[in-house]
Symmetry: C2
Subunit: 483 residues, 2 copies
């Protein structure tokens, strides 16, 4: 049986072997994970994937089958494969907890490890956190426009594979969804599972009315009838009203009951259906909708006064359709030369690809009065910001916007928490419902301007003066010999 | 341990239970899988996912843990759970083989089964085939512009989860790629694995030159040096030339050697690098490129005369970035009323969502002389097209384009093959390399006009006269009582 240790790019393993034979594989180093732009042209990213990552790191090892396969490629030497057999993760990982809102250039996760162990983790770690943060962020965008409506994740059949479906459903919950149609995700992560009927149910009976009646017989308490199989307003809604009446007379109509629309003009159909329900005395019937929904369409439908109060979001959420990857990267930011820590920078012909050097953390500044977030400061680990002293916010990009936060008006929170120390898991994994509550709190610290779908306000993120100075110094040294 | 049987939408299981108690779960029915539009605004789709699907169908069953979980939800009754325990797939599946090119509205796969077994498979079947066909199609688009250049799949770190990475790599091969960086995919599917070094390798040494020299020492036969860590033209390329010279002098320069560019203007840098290599006597050095490549960018770079002959394609391929879902659906097209087969249609307020009724197959028409594909005809199963008689191609959408293919000028091929019959696997799964050869053949039957990236010619797909008549008849019946 192959293990997930093989779920990596070949070059990680060839570099590990190369460093091994060059005697550099055990050099201690520090890697940062960060991203450069918010997905969806949005104002933030919701961090997710840590629980999955912890499981991955905790269990990483090479099985005999893994090693036999690697040997069969002809690329690896026996002595190195023997060494691989004993490899596991023995370093430190610091990370922002799941549900944290984060911004471009910030350290989301920091790894201290022997170089070969860091290489071993890079690919899969990046994949897990890129994917799950992306979906959590998309879900949060949907939640910000849906208000208190019900939100259901319905995307499994369009997901990019099994893991995309399962971890996508979990990430949707971190983004503020109420449940999923994905039964396995429900079982694995204790997520509420939801769903009623498909068109094939309706088509299995001699008439829609018979199909609805059979459904009501079987599931009197989960009565959301799919109303668009034949003709929504001419047949689906009248048939639903017939059923609701029958149940009302029998005293079996549940508190929550209604219909789902899966095609056509959802604004128009929902308003007409609501009118028809109201006229028949069923004005509180739920109108659920699905069919290629995303945050933009939901926002439009609401602007048009639709009567929908429950949304099934599938394809657009589970694939993050308009921005289906988060470009999170994992970069060497320093390494030890004996006991001396030497900060490193990744130069690039693309200016935005140049990294921040050194061992860093993020300090988050909150306004004391409103509780809202004011700024993030990327610091060199160990630097402190004294909340009793004035804090100068200066911007490289827009110096005229520089300003001072008065001492006593703000609080400071350190964002990276220890997860693994010397290979030991020191972090108590929160339950999903705790992560969801924390994620809600996090979003509540943002003014609506930062949550806006289009042209959101950009969060103030700056380097500490010490970090800026270090970066300038190394940039100058690295560039010196080209001029 | 939960099984993949839980990897489904809840409503499939609630419908199964409902049908069970309504005594309708064993009704024989026929479902079609098809899609409505080509992804990427392209002219075709490459079908993939059948091998994965076969494994899924073959092993589907509910474990005790699955049943315990379902019981814990309070939705399912013991007698039904007891019944589920014995459920497996006992029906027939017909499908187009992997690597087949297909077009909108065509039956890609047809399931004959008891209704509850069809419901059981739907979600996961759709997910597997939507995902893998999507990536194979994207890869084929890249292959059509890359000509005979090397194409490497590099996307794991941006994949939407583990399965997306693994099955995406396999699908890329069906689309015509040469290998993957994904080691686990290599191990599972016998795919060539490829890769050299990352920036962190270069930064692990005191200088780029030292890093290159160490790499040449460790991997003298896999010598692609990453040239953009500091400054591509001022340092990376000169350092590479130094190494190539040292190896040439020592007689250790391999046949294939070169550099990889991962940032900056790839057209300009590759042309300049090629000039520098040529001047130093290394005009045959490979210039590989990566960095957010897709078929459009590769096509542009080639139009600009870039000197790149090896491409690493990551994010855009593995996520199908510009079109990250294939809207394949699974619809009831008929069911047995006793011994009588009753074709069914799915009406919809959206005209394009109305399905083709009945038990169908696809006949593909090839021009005898050129071997190129002329048209597909969706038929009712059992209909034949006699290649010795004239074939009338008529179009609903564009009647003025109707035309006649002369008898004797064409050949006919039936596209759906039996995969499972009465639950038994009757299909011999081809090796990946056979699938790849078949996929190449399939693409060769399309004129370049159908393969074009932008505004491709639309393949001629029509219903047989019998199918058209059946569809019209049912449509009329279904609509009659609304007017």
């Amino acid at each position: 049986m192959y293990t997930k240790a093989l779920l990596t790019d070949l070059y990680q393993l060839t570099m590990m072997q190369g460093l091994y034979f060059e005697g550099r594989h055990e050099q201690s180093c520090v890697f940062d994970r960060y991203y450069r732009t918010n997905p969806f042209d949005g104002g933030y990213t919701v961090v997710a994937g840590l629980e999955h990552l912890i499981d991955y790191v905790h269990h990483i090892h090479f099985s005999d089958d893994d090693l036999a396969y690697l040997k069969s490629t002809g690329i690896f030497q026996d002595v190195f494969l023997e060494y691989l057999k004993g490899v596991s993760f023995t370093g430190d990982i610091y990370a922002m907890p799941e549900g944290t809102v984060a911004f471009p250039q910030e350290v989301l996760l920091r790894v201290h490890a022997k170089k070969d162990e860091a290489l071993l983790l890079e690919t899969c770690m990046s994949m897990i956190m890129n994917h799950e943060s992306l979906i959590a962020t998309k879900a949060r965008r949907v939640r910000t426009v849906a208000g208190h409506d019900a939100l259901m994740e319905f995307g499994l059949r369009r997901a990019q594979g099994k893991s995309a479906g399962i971890y996508g459903a979990r990430s949707a919950m971190i983004g503020g969804f109420n449940g999923t149609s994905n039964v396995l995700a429900g079982a694995l992560f204790d997520i509420p599972i939801l769903g009623t009927m498909a068109h094939s149910w309706v088509m299995s009976f001699t008439s829609e009315l018979e199909a609805f009646r059979a459904y009501a017989r079987q599931y009197p308490n989960n009565l959301i009838l799919l109303a668009d199989t034949y003709n929504t307003l001419k047949q689906g809604v009248p048939d639903a009203i017939t059923i609701f009446k029958e149940m009302k007379e029998a005293g079996t109509l549940p508190t929550a009951y209604g219909i789902r629309l899966d095609s056509g003009d959802l604004a128009y159909l929902s308003k007409e259906a609501h009118k028809m329900f109201s006229a028949a005395g069923f004005g509180d019937a739920v109108i659920a909708a699905s069919n290629d929904l995303d945050e933009n369409l939901i926002s439009e439908l609401k602007a048009q006064g639709c009567a929908i109060n429950s949304w099934g979001v599938g394809t657009h959420l589970i694939t993050a359709k308009d921005s289906p990857s988060l470009g999170g990267v994992f970069k060497l930011v320093g390494q030890y030369d004996g006991d001396l820590f030497v900060p490193k920078i990744k130069m690039s012909d693309n200016a935005e690809k140049i990294s921040n050097p050194g061992m860093k953390n993020v300090l988050r500044i909150y306004d004391k009065k409103s509780g809202k977030m004011k700024a993030d400061v990327i610091i060199l680990e160990g630097e402190v910001i004294d909340p009793e002293k004035d804090l100068y916010l200066s911007s490289d990009k827009a110096p005229w916007r520089s300003r001072v936060l008065r001492g006593g008006s703000f609080t400071v929170r350190k964002m990276l928490q220890p997860i693994f120390l010397q290979g030991e898991l020191v972090y108590k994994k929160p339950a999903l419902r705790e992560i969801m509550a924390y994620a809600d709190e996090q979003v509540d610290t943002l003014w609506p301007e930062y949550l806006r779908l289009v042209n959101p306000e950009e969060m103030w993120v700056q380097r500490s003066p010490k970090l800026s100075a270090l970066r300038e110094k190394i940039l100058k040294e690295e560039s010196a010999h080209f001029f």
